[in-house]
Amino acid sequence: MNEFEDIEQLLKPQCEFKASETLKQEVMEKAREEVSPRRTIKLWPWLAAACVIGFIVMLLMPPKSATEEKTLVAEKVEKPKAVEEKQVETIPEPVNVKVETPKRPKVKRPRKVVKEAPAKEPQEEPVQMSEETRMELLLASLDKDVPQMEEKDSYEAIRQIRMRGERLVSMYKAIDN
């Protein structure tokens, strides 16, 4: 019987077993995490909201074909604008040209009238013509230009008339000389 007890004694623990100091802390922390449902409650609403927003976006987004049509329409609209702009831009240019063009005849015409040969033949004829007939011819030439001038701005028309008056005076002076 003693031997039986000796063996039992031999099988008894002969040193102390100590668990880590962190074991208790870890167990309690994990238990508290399981108890507190904060994380799950915090996460779920956000996830649900994100899903709902995604769904709404999918619903509200127009189909691809519609977006393509819109772009086409936009292009169509843009092109006329560009053309209009170009037209608008081109309009002033001819005005400038037209403004300049009257100057040329102002200088050249008298010269042609004076220097060119065909002008000389009529020069010889006006010598024979009376002053009244010459005046009538000049006024007739002015009358031909009047409809064109009426279409332009009043300022421009006045300017034209003034230039023609000057030309007339210069022609008279040339004839007199």
Binding site: F4, K12, K18, A19, L23, K24, E26, V27, E34, V35
Partner: protein, 170 residues
Amino acid sequence: MERETERLLEELERIVTERQDWLFRFAYMRIGIREDAEDVVQESLLSVFRRLREKMGIGNVEQYVIRAVSNACTDYFRRKPLRVVTLDKAELVSVGEADRQIHGEFVRISRLLETLPPEQQEIVRLKCYDDLTFKQIAELQDIPEATAKSRYRYAIMHLQQMIKKKGDKI
């Protein structure tokens, strides 16, 4: 609800404070690796806590904790057969200075019981090393109390003969 949770947390804290060293020794004497033994204890305690929270009927909490750790050790050997420390290599396991003593104890007991069948080994560990009563052992092993007693008796007699043989040889 919060009061109930607080009460359960206090209950868990009490169990951990009172039994953590005993449970750690229980697990270490079967596994032989500190980290794994502590993991097993931690998981077992948390499973008990979950069980308490779900208000599942737990008669004797302490007996339930021991059973949980015992089952966790069995599962450990099932899940990680490669990490099981065989007796031949038990002394080669690297342990810290503080764990040298308890690891020596693990090797000593394992060497004493190595010639016994596994079911007798477990009953001797539970009776001698873990200091459980035959009634507790019978409940834990799901066997009649008489079977536990007879297995224990056979195991001790076998050890006596083995020690005698060794003494005669010396």
